[in-house]
């Protein structure tokens, strides 16, 4: 190693505290990025494994209206296939499938929310082995025979069996179609390490049909077509590298098989399902990158300041014959050491953090997208490699300006130890460029990725402006305090003077607080909108639901008529596909006196009358680009009335379509639900309904509202955690900057102590200065946060999820942001202040002599 390089690295050894903080900053940033990526990768992996386990080698699916196929149609297709006729003549295999979910008994001490569920896959055990290598047990005749022979028997996935503590030969209590059943667990199905949290069980077709209330119906028919494989694997790597990206194949979407049946490409169908959670994954990744960006600010600040302090040394080295390139290389070597140490720590921390985030993300995915629950972290190398790359490359990139400044030190012996900040003209150009980029990114057609890019550009522009803006603010404060004692004026002036050191850390704090404010406003706006929507949506005092296949709809109607209930709305709901997009269809009919808005909150289309046409949920309408008066895409099995309007809905999964009940003459089996508007106390009616339809689930509206809001809050907990982590990195940065500032000023404080300034004064000054900087950061962060929130509310949410939100300005949030900034500033200054208070004047003065 050259002596010059050794000298550079020894400098890091001398500045241990600063180095440790920079390493910590980058480590936390990398850890958050890696953790988010690991969790995203795990949720994708959970989907993939579930798809492979449950889908087998099927290349295509035959689906019917409402995602249901009458069993008889399968028999016809199979006869035609055996005879080598019809659309499926080329198929190697065709097998029937019934799929649905059953409810498991609630786990003890479970959080409030929907009960745990289990996916039931009903197959023909003899024919299915050729399509789904689910288990060897299904392959050998004995296992399949037992599944057929034993009533109510299933094969349970091994992980779920472990989780529930069920052994082969034991019975598992489940609830489906409004009835309880005790399923006999014949054996377990090996499930691999990382699997769906909700688990699955395999039953024979007839058992599944009866269990799920789908006697006479299939969910789909799995088809294996020759050369019908998936798209290239390379494209999937792109999806892993860039969360939020969903690569679609260019194949045709569906082929009409007649009588409402369609042949759809399985990969294409799964792409649609994957796309549902892609925007959520992108949001998480963006928050992870924010934490890393704040960490990179720290490296930038540490190196920039260290170069400023050493300009005189660099000038001397240049005078001795060291080239600019050698100096640049030295600083980059310092950055590389910091980056490698921070990244290595970050990778380890990322694994630990991912374990904690997994549960929160899983809860969010379950809240938003129903079935996708993540059981364990996937052993995917991509997040690690990506984390290592962004940590090291990012650090070197942010070190570049400092390396250039070192190389630009003119040869000589008398340079001052401090140099000015970067050229204002260059900075103004950068800010203008970033703001222009933000504007372009917000243009229509740039998607939600563009909107997130705009937020990044706005934050970066604000970070560049932070130094001058804080200096301006404090300058104004200094002028306002012109008549105050010199000791007070000194605090403000020292804060301005210290900005060369603390400016970058203050910028990081501004970015972190602004993001927290922006996200906070967005979440509050979201919560307010959801609460208003739910209050309107849950106007009926009583809600009744009959699961798919459960008996009792007629009995319910009889009770309602017998008791002359003033009004009620009846819905029949099932899943389907509209223009290649998964939707939940609700067939609607109102009876008697019901509220004018019919429990829907219109976005467009005037008075709500679901019996006059098709009403689309806002996300679905946006995705299909449909508005009032447009023709509804063809929905096999239904008459397709024109679109009457759009209504608000805040769900992450399938969009919803509300049709008049008579628009679907022969609807597939689905869930029946009733919104009831009795006059007076609803309890007597509830009792009568429970007696008439034991399978019915009855809920009061306030109960549903509380449950929905608790799911909402749980859904947003993960974003809160990631915001907090970015704030922690910013506080670490501020701590580093203020410690260095205090260290630099020890000599001056020593002189002041010598002149007779009390021992508390330096500590007081350090605290007051930190408080001032934090306050200035908060003042800048508030409007910036509002701008971030505006982009989030008006662009990101609309583009990513199709949700329109009512902007909310919670004053408590602003006060909280100011307090958090102050706490970060004062907390960061506490240790340096304490050290100054403890130091004896002679020690401080010795530093003055050493510096001289």
């Amino acid at each position: 190693m050259s002596l010059l390089l050794r000298a550079h690295l020894r400098y890091l050894g001398r500045e241990r505290a600063q180095v440790a903080l920079a390493v910590l900053g980058i480590a936390v940033g990398v850890a958050v990025v890696v953790a988010v990526d690991l969790v995203n990768a795990s949720s994708r992996e959970a989907m993939r494994i579930a798809s492979e386990r449950l889908g087998g080698t099927a290349t295509h699916w035959v689906t019917g209206p409402g995602d249901r196929i009458p069993e008889g149609r399968y028999a016809e297709l199979r006869r035609a296939w055996r005879a080598g006729e019809g659309h499926l003549a080329e198929a190697e295999r065709i097998v029937p499938v019934v799929e649905g979910t059953v409810i498991l008994p609630p786990e003890p001490a479970a959080a409030p929310g929907p009960p745990p569920t289990l996916t039931i896959l009903g197959v023909d055990p003899l024919a299915d082995a050729a399509v789904r290598a689910l288990t060897p047990e299904l392959g050998d005749g004995d296992g399949a025979g037992r599944l057929l022979a034993e009533p109510w028997s299933v094969l349970l996935d091994a992980q779920t069996a472990r989780r529930l503590g069920v052994e082969p030969g034991e019975r598992l209590e489940v609830t489906a179609a409004g009835r309880s059943r005790a399923l006999l667990v014949l054996d377990t199905v090996p499930a691999g390490d990382a699997v769906l949290g909700s688990g699955f069980a395999v039953a024979d077709l007839a058992t599944a049909q009866e269990l799920l209330g789908l006697v006479g119906w299939l969910s789909r028919i799995d088809v294996v077509l020759p050369e019908g494989g998936r798209g290239p694997e390379g494209l999937r790597l792109l999806e892993r590298l860039f969360p939020g990206l969903v690569v679609r194949s260019a194949q045709t979407r569906a082929r009409d098989l007649g009588a409402g049946l369609r042949l759809v490409d399985r990969a294409e169908r799964e792409t649609d399902l994957r796309a549902l959670s892609a925007s959520f994954q992108l949001n998480l990744a963006a928050l992870g990158l924010l934490a890393l960006a704040v960490g990179l600010f720290l490296i930038h600040g540490t190196l920039t300041y260290s170069v400023r302090r050493r300009l005189r040394d660099f000038g001397r080295l240049r005078a001795l014959g060291v080239t600019p390139a050698e100096l640049r290389g030295g600083i980059l070597a310092e950055a590389a050491v910091l980056a490698l140490a921070g990244t290595a720590l970050g990778l380890v921390g990322g694994r630990v953090l991912a374990g904690g985030l997994l549960e929160l993300v899983s809860a969010t995915l379950e809240g938003l997208y129903e079935r996708v629950a993540v059981g364990a972290l996937a052993p995917d190398p991509v997040p690690w490699l990506k984390g290592a790359a962004v940590g090291v490359v990012g650090s070197l990139a942010v070190a570049w300006p400092a390396a250039r400044a070192a190389a630009a030190a003119p040869p000589g012996l008398l340079q001052r130890a401090e140099a000015g900040e970067g050229s204002p003209r260059r900075r103004a150009a950068a800010v203008a460029g970033l703001l222009a980029l933000a504007g372009v990114a917000l243009l229509p057609g740039t998607g939600y990725g563009g909107a997130l890019l705009a937020i990044g550009a706005v934050l970066l522009a604000a970070a560049l402006l932070t130094g001058p803006a804080v200096a301006g603010l404090l300058g104004a404060v200094a002028r306002a305090t012109g008549s105050l004692p010199l000791g007070t004026r000194l605090v403000v002036r020292e804060a301005v003077r210290g900005l060369g050191r603390s400016g970058v850390a203050v910028a990081a704090l501004v970015v972190a607080v602004a993001t927290a404010v922006g996200m906070g406003i967005m979440v509050e706006s979201f919560r307010g909108s959801v609460e208003r929507w739910l209050t309107a949506r849950l106007e009926a005092p009583l809600y009744l639901r009959l699961p798919v296949g459960a008996e009792g709809a007629d009995a319910v109607r009889a009770v309602l008529e017998e008791r002359s209930v003033a009004g009620w709305i009846e819905r029949r709901s099932f899943d389907d596909t509209l223009d290649g997009r998964p939707v939940r269809v609700s067939l609607f009919r109102a009876h008697g006196t019901v509220p004018e808005d019919r429990g829907l909150v219109p976005v467009e289309g005037g008075a709500v009358d679901p019996e006059a046409g098709a009403w689309l949920s806002e996300p679905l309408a946006r995705a299909l680009d449909l508005g009032a008066g447009d023709a509804l895409p063809l929905l096999p099995g239904a008459r397709s009335p024109p679109v009457a309007g759009r209504y608000r809905e805040y769900g992450g999964g399938r969009g919803s379509l509300v049709l008049p009940l008579d628009a679907w003459p022969d609807p597939p089996p689905g869930m029946a639900s009733f919104e009831l508007f009795p006059e007076g106390d609803p309890e007597p009616l509830a009792r009568a309904l429970r007696a008439a339809a034991p399978a019915a689930e009855l809920r009061r509206n306030e109960e549903l509202l509380a449950l929905s809001l608790s799911i909402f809050d749980r859904t947003f907990r993960v974003t809160g955690v990631l915001q907090t982590l970015a704030g922690v990195v910013a506080a670490v940065g501020l701590f580093g900057a203020l410690s260095a500032l205090a260290l630099d000023r020890r000599a001056r404080f020593g002189m002041l102590r010598t002149l007779g300034v009390g021992r508390a004064a330096p500590a007081r000054q350090a605290l007051a200065e930190a408080g001032l900087l934090a306050l200035a950061a908060a003042v800048l962060a508030l409007p910036l946060g509002v701008a971030v929130a505006w982009i989030l509310v008006e662009f990101v949410n609309v583009r990513a999820f199709g949700w329109s939100l009512d902007f909310a300005f919670p004053p408590g949030l602003f006060a909280q942001a100011v307090l958090v900034a102050l706490a970060a500033g004062l907390g960061a200054a506490a240790v340096p202040a304490w050290r100054l208070w403890r130091a004896r004047p002679a020690e401080l003065l010795a530093d003055a002599r050493a510096l001289a």
């Binding site: 004692p485 010199l486 000791g487 004026r489 000194l490 002036r493 020292e494 301005v496 003077r497 000599a747 001056r748 002189m751 002041l752 102590r753 010598t754 002149l755 007779g756 300034v757 009390g758 021992r759 004896r840 004047p841 002679a842 003065l845 003055a848 002599r849 001289a852």
Partner: protein, 230 residues
């Protein structure tokens, strides 16, 4: 170790048997070994000696910035005795603020205060009501009337040291402790600054303890104590 002693009236300073040890590596080094020292009001004393002889250490002890391992330092100011070893940290700070003035080799002005403010700062610390007027008067007296609002960074070395002298005197201390006050100035500027220091101190009746390597300065004062000699 012995050092010269003053004679005559009640001494301003009486230091007896001062010992100060430092650990360096594994060894203990006695920088001061039983030093005695007296100073009369208004007397000008030079502390000389080679590097490491304990000049700055002694100055720190006299100012109460550091505590001796043995011995006693007694100041007699305004009719009162101050034994530094008997004062707590706050007491020593208040004593220093009120009765001592300092001039450093590297000026050590506060960079965020103007020349006038640097001087007025000491008056403010001492609660003197006419601090700014006193500061202005002193700076004018030292020839800096055109630099009152200048920032330290824009002042020459000589000008900065004149501001430091004004700051040392603005609160009318009993004694000025000066640590190599011309060590960072060229000969001509240093001579002029030193002359200004002597004159201003004499005008206000302040004693002077001067740490210096410069034999010319050491000769210009009333008495010289060379440290590091038995």
């Amino acid at each position: 170790m012995s050092a010269g002693e003053a004679t005559g009236a009640q001494p301003l300073l009486r230091a007896r048997g001062l010992v100060r040890r430092f650990r360096q590596g594994g060894a203990e080094i006695d920088v001061l070994r039983g030093l005695d020292l007296e100073l009369r009001p208004g007397e000008r004393l030079a502390l000389t000696g080679r590097s490491g002889s304990g000049k700055s250490t002694l100055l720190n002890l006299l100012a109460g910035l550091d505590a001796p391992d043995a011995g006693e330092i007694r100041w007699h100011v305004d009719g009162r005795d101050f034994v530094l070893g008997e004062l707590d940290e706050d007491g020593r700070t208040r004593f220093r603020r009120r009765h001592l003035g300092f001039v450093f080799q590297f000026f050590n002005l506060v960079p965020t205060l103007t020349a006038l403010e640097n001087v007025a700062f000491l008056a403010e610390l001492n609660g003197l009501p006419d601090g700014e007027a006193r500061a202005r008067e002193l700076l004018v007296r030292l020839g800096l009337e055109h630099r009152l609002e200048a920032w330290p960074a824009t002042l020459s070395g000589g000008e900065q040291q004149r501001v430091a002298i004004a700051r040392a005197l603005v609160h009318r201390p009993a004694v000025i402790l000066a640590d190599e006050p011309t060590g960072n100035l060229d000969r001509a500027t240093g001579d002029a600054v030193f002359a200004a220091l002597l004159e201003a101190a004499a005008e206000r009746g302040a004693a002077l303890v001067l740490v210096t390597h410069d034999p010319v300065l050491a000769e210009a004062v009333d008495r010289r104590v060379e440290l590091g000699r038995s």
